[in-house]
């Protein structure tokens, strides 16, 4: 019961924030939900949000898993995405002609690189027992330069129909491709969680590693696995980002996305110290961040000031969610109830 209630609360907070944001948008203009069809595809505020948040959603899923199993965060996800996508671009450009098969092959290769990156971080975290943030600081420091070296030059351009279709719309399909890719990814992930014990195992490892081992779980392997999964997430996010952008900017691609991904995990109500987690919470958290960004833009807040507003928003949200404030609020409401109850009794007498 208690668990259900806390679970409920966990998703309730980001959901209600999302609702408030949408309400603000509706007050600003009632046409918020309106969807128009341009060139056979749906556009509008909601599709734009889904489109814009796709990389973030994918990364926050992987981040949630890593947070759960290792009790720390990977700050190299953006950089990892930059590296994997540089491999993707390099391979694609050096292949003879750009076909769907070539794109798929290059994408799979970039996923392999993502797994390798995950394995590197995972090895440091699981085998050498380095704090995740410290371990991933290595790639964070070096990664963009590595991506640049793989590119071989500044911002190679992906100018062709196929990849731009991946980044925007495939003719005949009414929904923008990144949205579909994200949906597919979420679905695959849901299947993964359904058909394996990944959730149970990584929670066990995150909560009590020693006990997990004594119950036959190999904590090293699980941590390793979660980092490799995050590596795949980075590769997919990098793929989407680079096809969206149409060129590979090794310096700015997926910049600062790691911070937003960690934020999404936290907004989703997941403890950053590891253990129990809710993927749904993180996904909602990621969309909340995107909605917030777009709401601020819609409210015509200066682009320069957006960050400050965002900061204020995060602080308020975290203060509301903080255990101390919740306890305080609970005590306050109890006091109120006692007061009211007491006066009611006095009245009866």
């Amino acid at each position: 019961m208690a668990r259900m209630r806390s679970r409920g609360f966990q998703v309730f907070l980001p959901l209600s924030v999302l609702a408030i944001l949408i309400l603000i948008n509706l007050i600003k203009g009632a046409d918020y939900f309106s969807i128009s069809i341009i060139n056979g595809a749906l556009y509008g505020n909601i599709p734009n949000i889904l489109f814009g948040a796709s990389e973030l959603v994918i990364l926050s899923i992987g981040m949630t898993l890593v947070t759960s199993s290792s009790g720390g965060q990977d700050i190299s996800v953006g950089v990892a995405g930059a590296i994997t996508s540089s491999v993707f671009v390099r391979l694609l450009l050096s292949s003879g002609g750009i076909t769907w098969a070539a794109i798929l092959a290059a994408f799979l290769a970039s996923c392999a690189v993502g797994i390798a990156i995950g394995a590197f971080n995972g090895a440091l975290v699981a085998v050498f027992k380095v704090q995740p943030m410290v371990a991933t600081l290595i790639l964070f420091t070096a990664g963009r330069s590595v991506a640049f070296l793989i590119d071989g030059r500044l911002s190679p351009i992906l100018a062709n129909d196929l990849t731009s279709q991946v980044g925007s719309v495939i003719p005949g399909v009414p929904i923008q491709t990144p949205i579909i890719l994200t949906a597919v990814f979420i679905a695959l992930f849901a299947v993964l969680l359904r058909t394996t014990n990944l959730k149970l195992y990584s929670q066990c490892v995150g909560i009590n590693q020693k006990a997990a081992r004594l119950n036959g779980i190999n904590p090293v392997r699980i941590k390793f696995l979660t980092y490799m999964i995050l590596g795949v997430c980075s590769a997919v996010a990098g793929f989407i980002a680079v096809t969206k952008a149409g060129r590979h900017d090794s310096v700015n691609l997926l910049k600062y996305v790691e911070m937003d991904a960690i934020l999404a995990v936290a907004i989703g109500g997941n403890p950053l110290g590891g253990g129990t987690f809710s993927i749904a919470g993180s996904i909602i958290g990621a969309y909340t961040i995107e909605v917030l960004n777009r709401t601020l833009l819609r409210l015509e807040v200066d682009t320069e000031t957006i960050k400050a507003f965002k900061a204020a928003f995060i602080i308020i949200l975290m203060v509301i969610a903080s255990p101390v404030v919740r306890q305080f609020a609970a005590r306050g409401s109890r006091w109120m109830r006692d007061r009211l109850g007491g006066s009611a009794q006095a009245g009866q007498r």
């Binding site: 019961m1 208690a2 668990r3 259900m4 359904r194 058909t195 394996t196 014990n197 990944l198 149970l200 195992y201 929670q203 066990c204 909560i207 009590n208 020693k210 006990a211 997990a212 081992r213 004594l214 119950n215 036959g216 779980i217 190999n218 253990g275 129990t276 609970a330």
Partner: protein, 516 residues
């Protein structure tokens, strides 16, 4: 209970001047979300007495102590210290006023030196006098005979030494009230003796001492008065001399003691024949047990005994490969087997309930359901999760069978009482239907009622043909349940007792004499 307090004040006012109440707590209530930990509890401590605070696990002793020392804030009630109403907002407040505390879980900082641990958080100073601190610490350690150096990092001290350091710190604080919450749990007999003589000396200086322990003998050895709590409620306070041990236990449990006597009949099945289920030769582990031989037959209950640190836990951990195995051979049902990781042991039908429930056993934030199915689920495999329905039915079955008190199967295990947590871990292993079950201190730190239930369960399992290795610090428990006892000393087996020679006297003789 309020009446008793008034009587103390009015009728024996004269006497009060000689032994004034140094601490008085009245009507203390404290609840946590979903749990009412203390309800209308009273406690009085006179100066110059040792006052035992007794109760089963979950009775509220530790909570009451934390209210005394300002770790928790009480919901209601009053605390008077030396006649003045007092309100400790934090452990600092309490310390500044002269309340020294040794908590159940040793609360020292591992990354600091012994000397720093002795002095940190005490007194008002701006800068640390390292030299003076070291010298004072050295003197103190010397006078108490604690084998540690002031400059040593605390993490390099053994658990018992850490416990002694925590006690030394509390004693050195010149306190008016000294609170000792389970101080003896990791001390050997010698150290307990030393502690008791210290307590007596402090008592003669007029310090009021609150003493919490699970060992009844120790209570009667040192205490003047006893306060009993049960389920967060005050049962009464008594003079130790006027409260027989049996009555104390029944007050703690709230029921008569038929249950214990029930299992006193030894119903150990005599299945001496047949090949052993599990055999080990020359087994040793990285935790430092000397190579030992061991075997257990079907339906047999045996036990490892010895003092704390004798290697009894380390031996069973070696069997289960909980510590890294460094040598030896294993046979299961006569066939050679290899156990390098716990999962291999599990697959061979071995279950292991660890000594350290909190650290090795429970997955605190996970639900009771997940905790129950965990081992079976892991054995079934990563790619074959149980459906929610299957998991529910497993959990329901064992919650009923073991009488686990939980609000639902989804309740996080951390919000259960110690005894119920232990039952959940037991359920976890019973669910795997092991052939050989290792229970390391399954009865430690849990209430008497559950202890009895667990012992009964062990015997029942044996009847069903499960081999059980049972370890307990309480020798009577082992004598009641085991048909064979393996005695350990200094990390090696020094003797084996069964049949006629299985008496407390013989066991103690072997432990003391170190074998023939």
């Amino acid at each position: 209970m309020r009446r008793t307090a008034i009587i103390v004040y009015t009728a024996s006012g004269e006497k009060q001047l000689q032994t004034p109440n140094v601490l008085e707590m009245r009507g203390i209530c404290k609840s946590f979300p979903g749990v009412r930990a203390l309800h209308d509890v009273s406690f009085t401590l006179r100066s110059g007495e040792v006052h035992a605070l007794m109760g089963e696990n979950g009775a509220g002793k530790s909570t009451l102590i934390k209210v005394m020392t300002g770790v928790y804030e009480k919901d209601s009630g009053q605390i008077t210290v030396e006649g003045k109403a007092m309100h400790f907002r934090s452990p600092q407040d309490a310390q500044a006023f002269g309340v020294g505390t040794v908590y159940q879980e040793i609360s020292l900082c591992h990354n600091l030196t012994v000397a720093e641990n002795m002095f940190i958080g005490r007194g008002r100073y701006a800068f640390v006098d390292w030299k003076g601190m070291r010298e004072k610490t050295a003197r103190l350690l010397d006078s108490l005979g604690i084998p540690a150096r002031p400059t040593q990092q605390l993490s390099s001290c053994s658990l018992a030494v850490q416990q002694m350091i925590a006690i030394a710190r509390a004693i050195d604080m010149d306190c008016r009230i000294l609170i000792l919450d389970e101080p003896t749990s990791s001390l050997d007999e010698d150290e307990v003796r030393k502690l008791f003589s210290l307590m007596r000396e402090l008592k003669s200086r007029g310090v009021g001492i609150v003493f919490v322990t699970h060992f009844l003998d120790q209570v009667y050895e040192i205490s003047d008065r006893i306060t009993v709590l049960r389920n967060g409620e005050f049962i009464g306070d008594y003079d130790a001399s006027s409260l027989p041990q049996l009555e104390l236990v029944s007050k703690m449990m709230g029921k008569a003691l038929d249950d214990v006597s029930q299992i006193k009949k030894r119903e150990v099945p005599a299945l001496e024949g047949g090949a052993p289920v599990f055999e080990a030769q020359g087994l040793s582990s990285a935790a430092g047990v000397r190579p030992f031989d061991f075997a257990i037959r079907k339906g047999e209950v045996n036990g490892f005994t010895g003092l704390l640190g004798s290697g009894r836990s380390e031996s069973v951990r070696a069997i289960y490969a909980a510590d890294k195995v460094t040598g030896g051979e294993i046979k299961v049902h006569g066939r050679k087997a290899r156990i390098g990781e716990p999962i291999q042991a599990m697959k061979l039908g071995i279950g292991y309930l660890p000594e350290d429930r909190k650290g090795d056993g429970i997955i605190a934030e996970l639900s009771v359901r997940d905790n129950i199915i965990l081992a079976l689920q892991v054995m079934k495999g990563f790619f074959k999760p149980f459906s929610r329905k299957e998991a529910e039915s497993f959990a329901d079955e064992y919650i009923e069978r073991l009488n686990i008190k939980t609000a639902s199967t989804s309740t996080p295990i951390k919000s259960l009482s110690g005894g119920n947590q232990q039952k959940v871990i037991l359920a976890r292993w019973l669910l795997t239907h092991p052939e050989y079950l290792i229970l390391d201190e399954p009865t430690r730190g849990i209430d008497v009622g559950t202890k009895v239930e667990i012992q009964k369960l062990v015997l029942k399992l044996a009847e069903e043909g499960v081999s059980v290795t049972f370890i307990s610090s309480e020798i009577e428990e082992m004598l009641r349940t085991c048909s064979r006892l393996i005695v350990m000393k200094d990390r090696a087996i020094v003797g084996e007792l069964s049949g006629e020679s299985l008496t407390e006297r013989d066991v103690l003789h072997v432990i003391a004499g170190g074998g023939e």
